[in-house]
Amino acid sequence: MLQVEKINQYYGAAHTLRGVSMELEKGKCTALLGRNGVGKTTLLKCLMGVLPVSAGSVKLEGRDITRLAPHQRARAGIAYVPQGREIFARLTVEENLLMGLATHSGKKAHTIKGEVYELFPVLKEMLHRRGGDLSGGQQQQLAIARALLAEPKLIILDEPTEGIQPSIIKDIGNVIRLLRQRGDMAILLCEQYFDFAHELADQFIVLSRGEVVASGAQAAMNDPEVKRHLAV
């Protein structure tokens, strides 16, 4: 589905990603782990096209998308739940959800599927409230719902459980599990909440100082070697 090959990224002189490679598969959930500031968000932004890479390539279903703009990647089938939510503060909840349908056209572009309301009932209640007025957790739910509506081939989640109450974290876990089971989507989950990631992931990647220092199947996640890269 998605092949990342040796991508490098710099913030000015700071080398943030150093030859990161990975491969994501349809129907699989990949957990991206690492301490604070190792470059996880940076990597996800590079995949989304928000940040340019200085070297390396990104391929989606064999098609090279390394140089595409974010909106082109979105149209190619990538959806993104950014860290910090980034909902449209002055659009209503409903309009925010409609923005999730931006890649669609025709009637589909105007119908918000009922599923998201089932998943996040609070959104239905607050349909006409401005996105920016929601509580932190509500915004996070909105951001996830928005990404799901796009029906992407690859969904990128940057710390989706941040600020969300435990019961809904469970629900989100169930959704991810469901999506995985449906098998038509690749999931890239960047998560600090280890147990959550462990429960959902099929495979994992650990970043440290911009480099992939460990990776493997889910079973290997509990290796002390892996844990060491996550410890302080």
Partner: protein, 264 residues
């Protein structure tokens, strides 16, 4: 009304003769007809570490907004100590009186270096003239270095705070809070976005601060809450008022809390 003197270090000590540092009484906050807080009453004792949990949208952040003067309550009273009516004070007066806050979304001065962020937050006379003539004493410098180490940003002190990662900003904000030396610390989701290891460290830190400051922590990370609540009181907010209150294990066993918050 602000006076020429605001910003000066509060000279008179806080009157906490009745043992409580913060009283919220029947606070309601209404936004365009929506009740974010509904007759919320709560008090925090001196030196207490109080955990607050509750569903998304329960009103936790709004409550902190009320305490710090960011939002004016529609009705009800908020007192800091026996005498300070928070609803009559402006944000900076409240901060200066000794309430420090970490926001849910990390907010630091992005165009300032890490060092400058801490320096700005440092407890001192914050009026114009003293600020103009302020020079760092070696003692103050030492204090900053100490905090830098604590938040593990030593080495990054000359970086612009805007360039930090999410988690690093969280830490920096905690560091700024400590520089302020407030009597009451409000922490809105301090470990959101921190790795498990970092979370553990934060818990450690809070346990160290326990007793020296009064602390109010809002978190959704139950492991963390359990870790810091110890035998103390945990308050559960729901739809703008207190749903349940008690020790962590009691609260976790409460059917209503499981229903609206923890999930089955």
């Amino acid at each position: 009304m602000s006076s020429m003197n605001d910003g000066r270090i509060a000279l008179q000590g806080l009157d906490t003769t009745h043992g409580a540092i913060l009283y919220l009484e029947e606070i309601s906050v209404v936004f365009d007809g929506f009740r974010a807080l509904n007759k919320l009453s709560l008090d925090i004792s001196v030196g207490e570490l109080r955990c607050i949990i509750g569903p998304n949208g329960a009103g936790k952040t709004t409550m902190m907004d009320v305490i710090t003067g960011k939002t004016r309550p529609t009705s009800g009273t908020a007192f800091f100590g026996q005498t300070m009516d928070l609803s009559r004070m402006s944000e900076h007066e409240i901060a200066h009186a000794g309430i420090g806050r970490k926001f849910q979304r990390p907010t630091v001065f992005e165009q300032h270096t890490v060092f400058e962020n801490l320096e700005l937050a440092m407890k001192m006379d914050k009026r114009v003239r003293p600020t103009l003539f302020a020079r760092l004493s070696s003692e103050q410098r030492g204090k900053i270095e100490e905090i830098l180490k604590l938040i593990r940003l030593n080495g990054s002190e000359q970086r612009l705070a805007g360039l930090l990662s999410h988690g690093q900003k969280q830490w920096l904000e905690i560091g700024m809070l400590l520089m302020q030396e407030p009597q009451l610390i409000l922490l809105d989701e301090p470990v959101a976005g921190m790795s498990d290891a970092e979370t553990a460290r934060t818990a450690e830190l809070l346990n160290e601060l326990r007793g020296k400051h009064s602390i109010m922590v809002v978190e959704h990370d139950m492991a963390f809450v359990t870790e810091i609540a110890q035998q103390g009181v945990v308050t559960v907010l729901h739809e703008g008022s207190v749903l349940a209150q008690g020790r962590m294990d009691e609260v976790q066993a409460d059917e209503r809390v499981i229903e609206v918050y923890l999930g089955r």
